[in-house]
Subunit: 139 residues, 2 copies
DNA sequence: TGATAACTGCAAAGAATTTGCAATAATACT
DNA sequence: AGTATTATTGCAAATTCTTTGCAGTTATCA
């Protein structure tokens, strides 16, 4: 992963820094998408000296290079980021109680897309699908 | 509509005011969901004297009474509001070029919900589905 | 008409995110 | 290895959307 990161950074005239490495490492160590401030907190716990602004800027770069994807879950008012590397297209379900986010591996929308294109005359480029509910612990 | 509004307001110890009437009227005159600031601008054009804060507070009340629903479209960073009165459950498609929002009357997710509940052990209470693309003019 | 709340406007606070700029650090070249 | 170049960082401050506090205004009901 680091190898590909260096490659990607170089190709766009960027540099591999202590902070970029640290951000990527924390994201890799987490199976659910983190917000910028969550990432910041975890870095602080690990005694990595970094500014929240730098976290934002790093996430922007990683997103531009295609290493992470940016999620916008409803009722949250913030972005979340997760490693995109080698992951299939998927959606999420979020617990309305504790906020826990779980991946959904299915996506039933491919067929629907062409139907919608016919109906609206739009060219569909993306879709977001998200469920909200209560996880077993919060029920 | 106004009749039901008065009824709803009364029932919760609230009052029908010039501003609430105006906000509802503008929402009714629009077929696509408006943001608070868009609503504010339209009211200004109509020479209705109102503060943006009051627009927000009014939208909150209308939402609580079930007269409008609050939407959170992706890549927008703001809420939108649309009349809910007598409208069926639906989703939206938004043009990535001009931002135009069109309703989608179909919803293919009812069957999917029980599948997801089995898979995740969540109780699903809501879902959001949204498409992004280019409208005929922006293609 | 007057009393009692609810409602409004204004200013200011909050939260997430972005921007400007000088100091710092990674890279390339010698 | 040493130095010049230029990307990156940290800090402060700005932005955007939304919410809150409070005193003055207005709708409602006796």
């Amino acid at each position: 992963m680091i190898g590909k990161l260096i490659e990607g950074l170089r190709a766009t005239g960027r540099r591999l820094t202590r902070t970029r490495r640290a951000v990527l490492r924390v994201l890799e160590g987490n199976q659910y998408p983190l917000s910028a401030s969550e990432l910041y907190e975890r870095l602080q716990k690990e005694k990595v000296s970094i500014d929240l602004v730098t976290v934002y800027r790093t996430l922007t770069v990683l997103k531009e290079l295609g290493f992470v994807s940016q999620l916008e879950l409803h009722h949250e008012g913030q972005f979340r980021y997760e490693i995109r590397q080698g992951r299939k297209h998927h959606h999420h379900i979020r617990c309305q109680g504790c906020g826990r986010i779980v991946d959904l591996l299915l996506c039933p929308l491919k067929k629907l897309t062409s139907l919608i294109e016919k109906e609206t005359q739009f060219v569909v480029n993306e879709h977001t699908l998200e469920f909200g509910g209560l996880c077993p612990k919060c029920q």
